[in-house]
Symmetry: C2
Subunit: 245 residues, 2 copies
């Protein structure tokens, strides 16, 4: 799984300037820079180049500090993430025109590993190219993108956390997140059993059984309707135990 980029040449085999490539780009309408006029494109194209990836090649690794984002010209890309217990989970697929790795704009590490499913061609866009375009790039914009990134990260984590593993592990992970949402020592909001089921892909009966079981285990103590106090230490211990089977 090495990180090799395959040089691309035009169909005729004769190298073309990237400017011409961009102007003629068949996915230009679908892609990020579709909004730009030719003049803007002119200022930009020299910083952009193409790269190809063979199936199962990684475009970037999770955690790598990204200075590049990508527009997917052709092929299919998958995003993988490893859960804490160590098993991989595919959290999303992307097709032509998709923006790959926009967290680069936030000067942030990639949140997933992006891997080619089919042969893939991307346009590589250095972070700076986009930044330059947003002439007066307000901090507000940065904040906005950060929030969007956080939401997307959330959604991916939701996939890995709440749809995998035993029902017990899922409930425990949900409790941990609920505890994090309700700050420090306060009683946590507890969903109805039915809502727990909706979050975890379980029936309300199963949710109920598990809450009762955790109550007997001393992890959790009901505190009126939709409220609970939970023993953070035992929760984490139970989580570790559940996660290693």
């Amino acid at each position: 799984m090495l990180m090799r980029t395959v040089p691309i040449r035009s169909p005729q085999g004769t190298p073309r300037t990237q400017g011409a490539v961009c102007a003629a780009c068949p996915v230009r309408r679908d892609a990020l820079f579709g909004a730009l006029d030719d003049e803007a494109l002119e200022r930009l194209h020299w910083r952009i180049d193409e790269a190809g990836f063979a199936p199962d090649e990684a475009i970037y690794q999770r955690g790598a500090s990204g200075a590049t984002l990508y527009t997917l010209r052709s092929g299919i890309v998958r995003f993988e993430r490893v859960t804490e217990r160590g098993d991989r989970r595919i959290v999303r697929l992307a097709g032509r025109g998709a923006l790959i790795g926009p967290e680069a704009l936030l000067n942030r590490a990639y949140a997933d590993e992006a891997i080619a499913c089919t042969p893939v061609v991307v346009c590589r866009i250095p972070r700076g190219a986009v930044e330059d375009l947003a002439e007066r790039r307000s901090r507000l914009n940065h904040e906005l993108m950060a929030r969007w990134h956080a939401a997307l990260d959330d959604a991916a984590n939701w996939n890995t956390d709440f749809s995998a593993g035993s029902s017990r592990a899922r409930v425990l992970r949900l409790l941990r997140r609920l505890a994090d949402l309700s700050g420090d020592g306060e009683p946590v909001w507890l969903p109805t059993r039915e809502q727990m089921g909706m979050m975890l892909g379980l029936t309300m009966e199963t949710s109920s059984r598990l809450v009762s079981q955790l109550r007997r285990d001393g992890v959790l103590e009901l505190d009126g309707a939709r409220r609970a106090r939970l023993d953070s230490g035992r929760l984490d211990a139970a989580l570790r135990a559940a996660d290693l089977d």
Copy 2:
């Protein structure tokens, strides 16, 4: 489940101007406008107001055309989505400082239904307020946000599509998406059975059994390694059948 906003008053019970409220906002650092200086805040605050929601009250409905986005000051909000077969699925939770409904900036309908879990206080921000701030708001930025929104929408759909229902239904939904990714009539890229499992929360044996079964049903025809041709009509028929139990 009516859409009622509860007027909020300051702790002392005396109304304060929103400007003071914003400047003193305890979540200001966490929230979207934390990046703004006081002067920018001054230009803004009169357009922002607070609203409170009781548990189980909807902040907005999926599909409503949103002209407002929200910053979550306190409480927990859940995002719900209904799958095609009609059952609801919670796809995300948000806590203080989260940005709720940023698709409003794209002049687009809300992708989920946002519902208060606990008592909730939000700042309501009209779309125009943010637009005005991004003085020279380039179309590129709009494109960026659109892509981000699409990715987030994807992630939420991934939750509802691929982690719910019988294994057969999940596989069928995956095939439909794969068909959509590989345009019109071309053979579709088929993941390995193990990758299918990683996407759908199944084992590779189960994935294999189901692919074989669908092959026998004439939905799918293998076409070399990692490629398949599929009968779109039968696929949709099988999907409908699997979705209504």
